[in-house]
Amino acid sequence: MKLSKKISALILSVALLIGSFGQANAAKRLHAAIADWTGGIITCEVAVAILEREMGYKIKQTVFPSGTGLWEAIAAGELDFACESWPSYAEADTVMLNEDLIYEGKVVGTYSGDGSVDLLGTAGIIGMSDYWIPRYAAEELGIKTWKDLNKHKAKFATIESGNRGRLIGCPVAGWNCHDQKRLDLLGIDFQADELGTEAAAIAEAKAAYMRKEPFLLYLWSPHWFFGAYDMVGVQLPDHKVCDSFTEANNWKDCGTAAWPATGWAKDYTMNYGNPATFASAEHADAKKFFEKMSLQNIDQAKMLVEVDQNGRDVKEVVNEWLDNNPDKWKSWLP
């Protein structure tokens, strides 16, 4: 009896207390996704920091794996925006965007989807992806292009790959790199290992570099890894597209002539958001900001080194960059 009253009194009073103190917050709010690679995290953090510091926003951030699921969450309004989508990796962009992608005044991409996601503008970062081997291995084994890889596949083998070579592949399945498909189509007798996270793949590559072992690595730039270690690309065939050649079509025709048998295109990355949110008058300023935002590769690369190599906190690094380089971002403000 005593206990029950005690509990009920406690619960009731806590409810009252919450009622008396919880006040509606006056700040404008947006809900952003945290990406699953460091570059994407930094780009978004730059946007978030500017919105919060300069424009009176309060941004809620949620960890969410990149991939189609993220696009759908944004279309449904569960999230308001996400940053630095790489067109080669996104499958949903052609279906959901309906706008031109403009980079420094030039149209670099045209989309004619249903417009369920709003293309907020370019993120500024221009990305490149390829397969890489360390320079010492390239020189020692005489590997110039991907065609030479098969000859030395035994040198690239690990216990897990058996007698095939091993590619430290695209770490996250949702990124749609189709590594194994590419290797098979090109006739490279290698096995693509998906290690789950960027950090795991990089750790593996770093350890192999330290031991001066040959290894084949999928990686994109800008990335700090290239600053610290000497890597050379294997020059995959130039990017080509073929419409009837998709996973949904079960890779029917086109053979080895088109993606994913080729390398990646140059990626003009973009920020994207929920159309309803950014059409509202309340967030007109934020929309203007995203239209102007353009983070340069070199700046992201600097921050990447601080975060990934020196192990510093992302927020701290981004705020430091904003403090020291006001000339670079003041012009993005509406």
């Binding site: 206990l3 029950s4 207390l17 960890v63 789950g196 996270t197």
Partner: protein, 706 residues
Amino acid sequence: MATRTDLIDKSNQSKNIITYVIIGVVFLVALWLSTQSEGPSKFPKEVTDKFTFTAWVNDGEDYLKKNYRWVTKIIASYIKETYYFLEDFLLESPWILIATIIIIPCIIAGGLRLGIYSSFVVYFWGATGMWEPSLQTVALMGLSVLLCVFFGFILGVLCSQSNRFENFMKPVLDTMQVMPAFVYLFPALFFFGIGGAPAILATMIYAMPPIIRLTNTGIRQVPAQTIESATSFGSSKLQLLFKIKIPLSLPSIMMGINQVIMMALALVVLACFIGAEGIGGQVWQAIRRLDVGWAMEGGLCILFMAIMFDRFSLAFSKDKERLPSDVQRFYLLPQSWEKYQIAKILETPLSFGNKILKIICQIVTSAIATVIRVLVSIFNKSTGENIGEFISKRYYVIPYFLVLFLIAFIDNYFLEIGTFPKEWKLSIRQPISNAVESLTVNPGFISFAKGLRAFVYLNLLRPLDVFLTQIPWWYTLAVFSALGYVTVGIRFAIITAVLLLFIGACGIWTQSMITLSSVLVSVVLCFVIGVPLGIIASYNERFRNIQNVVLDAMQTLPYFCYLIPVLMFFGGGTVSAVIATVIYSIPPIIRLTSLGLTQVSGTYSEVSRSFGGTLIQTLNKVKFPLAIPSLVIGFNQTVIMAFAMQIVTPLIGGKGLGLEVFNGLARSDTGRGLAAGIGIVLLAIIIDRITLAWTKKQREALGLIS
């Protein structure tokens, strides 16, 4: 007599031999079949093409989204609003207020010791920079627990009142408890969007069973005499329920709440996979960045939080057992230390402070009570008396709220307290990362880790992977059905066949065999490591006590925290996934081995020793056979936990069904994710039922149950 036992022995032996021969033949045939086939066994293409479960689910999802999304949206938006409200309150109030809200109830319920511990926990959240995520987790957990207790209590009372309803609820509760939690994380995602709302709803499914069960049993266990005497005094049925039965079953209900809290915490952390905020998200980010120190901090925050809530809710349910205040002399140190002089000296100021505090509280409370009594008495005398009495009895609760209001008042009008002071930060991130780094570059450790990785992969994982994936699917299916028939019965054999056919028809046969193989390897390793530890614990009490503390901590930690140590020492890959699974699922096997061996009554081992049996003989011939049922239960639990772990191992390079689930989530392909999730559940259910039935048979054979 002698001849009879001989006969039984012989028939047993011949039976055993036949069993072994059958097992051997089945295995050899499987081996032969697997070497015959080239590449993994595939389900007939006609079947997998026609049985497009994935597409059906996705179509269904689209249909529901189009037509019924508004219903779920309304529910989700209510929950979301409440959650944001609570979260805002926790995050935007001055930090001292929040700390006080948490610490003082701990002191009231669990005494000074729990109070000091809870202050440490709260300090740790702030010091490691996890203040916000910790409170988000608390908010999510608090709201889910509140909803669970509310609905669970109602359902439990209904169960206790109607046998028919209880019979209806029982299988439902069983299913809720057997299903690994992440299976409903997915549907929740698909009906309620991402974030707090689906997390809370999924947690409700996961954590509600204990409160329903314990409310039900608590009410049903109220002694018949009590009920009789209440009825004879003329209580109506409702009066009986609310004045007698429910109050008497409160300790049981409180136990239920305790379990709800622990389960809710575990799931809320996991819910970061569907976009819920909190420490789970922090740990996930840390794992992604391979930042061991960060992940550790997150893990410790969760662990400390879990222990605090556990002790807090236990203290409430053990209200009666506490010593009356005139007997209790020690507030901080154990009561048994009373004989030491130094302990007494240390305790004197504490007990003095306690007395003063109590007097102050009493004076304040009675002063308030008097004022209110006088005020209310102007309108209605008897209500005034009642309220006055009600208040003056609560001389801890009322001052507690006074303190809270005081803090809020000061914060609002005098000086802003704001967030946790930055100067108090004490990050353990860097030291941990450095320590790990120095170990991982140690050549001895590198060769050990490499050797272990190579050994597990080459000798266990790869052969089994190849073996299981290359056996033709129909053969595996037949073996499992036969096992089901032998252990449970014909009905279960058919069910097993149907379930496995479902897995095959979904086109995930190969992945499920890979999952099965990594689960089996993990379980074997659990046995190899866990049984010896259990044996040592059964002989050495001190070792057992230490081990129990460690295992308790391990079992309160949510399961993807186990990825952290593995990631730090072994990197990513399939072997790392196995090692993480072993660490997570080993506690039951250790516990139940030691329990089984210690439970074998002393007389048996005494008899064996008096006949001259050595230690090993006694262990081997007497104790182990008698402990088998317990061991099998341990095996069973370990298997289930190993399956549950498969969902998070893809984060560090695990393969199989777990990876399919992840792919489904990332590509927003609900059907694919769901099929793989169901696949894990089905495999777990099949193995669970077979081992449970086997235990039952063993126990019957040993005469432990009739």
